[in-house]
Symmetry: C2
Subunit: 319 residues, 2 copies
């Protein structure tokens, strides 16, 4: 057993970029990337895990870096045919992406757990590092909006996040248990990193799995979060809009208030340097750097900085 062990909590695209950096600087036995599954859904009978796939594709360098999501070299003839057949076409399933959904759906139907299926897919993609769902249970985000409650993908994709965000509930969370990989990593982690993902719909689901938040609080591992807000905006996705709709300023400070004492350290972008004094006054250790990840070098550099920063933080007493 290696002495250093890093647990990274990740959502989709931002989580995938950060995870890609971590796999570049950590050997496979020193990292577990645990991924949000509350935006998973059954679509056309296929079990789709958007965040797990974003992370797998990013780590395996199979992700489309131009479009920012999905599979590289993607084509859309399945979608085109669905459309001609008058079937639901609001959720884009690329021809290559479909291979993942079909293999996953088949394996789940054969009785494998989502953890087992994720190991199988990671292996098939040549991934040596641990990638795991937060839980094998079907936890689902239900978004409260000014137009009522919406299943996550209805809000996020079908409605393009147009309805005003009022909050989110995680269906089935009370009966869920952490995946084996998450449970194990919570025990052995010497550092816990929170990827620059959406706190409300990507990270909170992971933290809300029973015992996860408490295990992190009890852990002696320092917890370092990378801010998903850069210069008052989210790099990608609806976070800034969601924060404004909650009456919050889209800022690193507000995200830091949201996680509260769960985090010890924050990594913020140089463009948010103004937040430094307030964050430090709130009791956080802060690293100011360039957090925008445009290429693999950016990702590896940020991962190394996050790692060095986290491992230099003091072991934590009970949070």
């Amino acid at each position: 057993m290696s002495e250093r062990f890093v647990l990274a909590l990740a959502g989709g695209v931002g989580g995938g970029k950060f995870a890609r950096g971590l796999t570049a600087v950590l050997p496979p036995d020193e990292l577990a990337v645990v991924v949000n599954t509350a935006d998973d859904f059954l679509h056309l009978g296929l079990h789709v895990c958007p965040d797990i796939d974003s992370v797998l594709y990013a780590i395996a360098d199979l992700n489309d870096t131009e479009r920012g999501w999905g599979h590289a070299g993607e084509t859309w003839n399945f979608m085109d045919t669905l459309r001609r057949l008058g079937a639901a076409d609001w959720f884009q399933l690329g021809d290559r992406d479909l291979a993942t959904h079909v293999l996953r759906t088949e394996a789940l139907a054969a009785g494998q757990s989502l953890s087992e299926v994720t190991v199988m897919l990671a292996e098939r993609m040549g991934i040596k590092h641990t990638v795991a769902p937060m839980t094998d249970h079907a936890v689902r985000s239900i978004v409260e909006t000014d137009e009522g409650a919406l299943a996550f993908q209805d809000y996020f994709v079908r409605r393009q996040c147009q309805p005003a965000f009022r909050g989110v509930a995680f269906q089935n969370i009370a009966s869920a248990t952490a995946s084996a990989a998450l449970g194990e990593a919570l025990k052995t982690a010497t550092a816990i990193l929170i990827a620059p993902s959406n706190p409300f719909v990507s990270i909170d689901p992971i933290l809300s799995v029973p015992d996860v938040r408490d295990s992190i609080r009890r852990s002696h591992a320092p917890v370092v979060a990378v801010s998903p807000i850069v210069g008052g905006a989210a790099i990608k996705g609806p976070l800034a809009k969601m924060m404004r709709e909650l009456g919050l300023e889209p800022s690193t400070l507000e995200v830091a208030r949201h996680y509260g004492a769960l985090a010890n350290g924050w990594i913020i972008d140089a463009s948010d340097r103004d937040s430094l004094p307030t964050l430090e006054a709130m009791g956080f250790r802060v690293l100011v750097t360039n957090t925008i990840m445009r290429n693999t070098e950016d990702k590896a550099r940020l991962a190394r900085e996050a790692l060095d920063f986290a491992l230099e933080l003091p072991q934590q007493p009970l949070r």
Copy 2:
């Protein structure tokens, strides 16, 4: 209710071509195309119906006429990705074709019968004529070969019909019942046409559904078969090879002997004119014409000839 009603029994590619011709010359309320489903199989969790799809694509003009099977304008990026992931790639699933399989699998999982699903798919493809499976039960061809018993697609696609054909059994046939469309058509048909499909693995399964063969025997409708053998060879597929492996000469005569008294009339290709005297001596009425269907005009002409020929035959006593 129209006075004329045609029941066509069809397998895959040859059945599709012949069905396409029939839809060109018959209004929707005068035709039911009933299709073999004994080569259906579950592949990667998807419910694939090769013969139904061949017939649907052919009638909707969605079939690839160059390759001779599958969907027009097909691409193979799903397959390419499956292959890269090291998954089973012996059965070709095109990106466009997948739309059919995914919609079918979803609807079956939601509790629809294969008949209902086939109606749904036909409607989505703009098909007005009745296309129905022979049964809603899971009847499956098991091919006896010199290497043992093989599931149909294992024999047909995975092993490319290499093992020597010894016969075929239809799993679950005893407990199967004819689909509603087949049952109804058997009662009302004024002509029954057997498409130029493989007698052993495409037409025999339909005839073997309990009561189907007897209903045809009891029917007063003339039964006309289009020979699947032209000039001692099958137009497509392994029929000639299978017949040789059974010790039979690949000829219209042997196919006529196989169906026996079930058929009243035979439509044979001009290149097989030599068979005419023997067929007539066997008691069959015979139409000699060009049975090779290269384009829609060929298909419509053959369909019209088959129809005129069948409807001129006398009503039949008990066969």
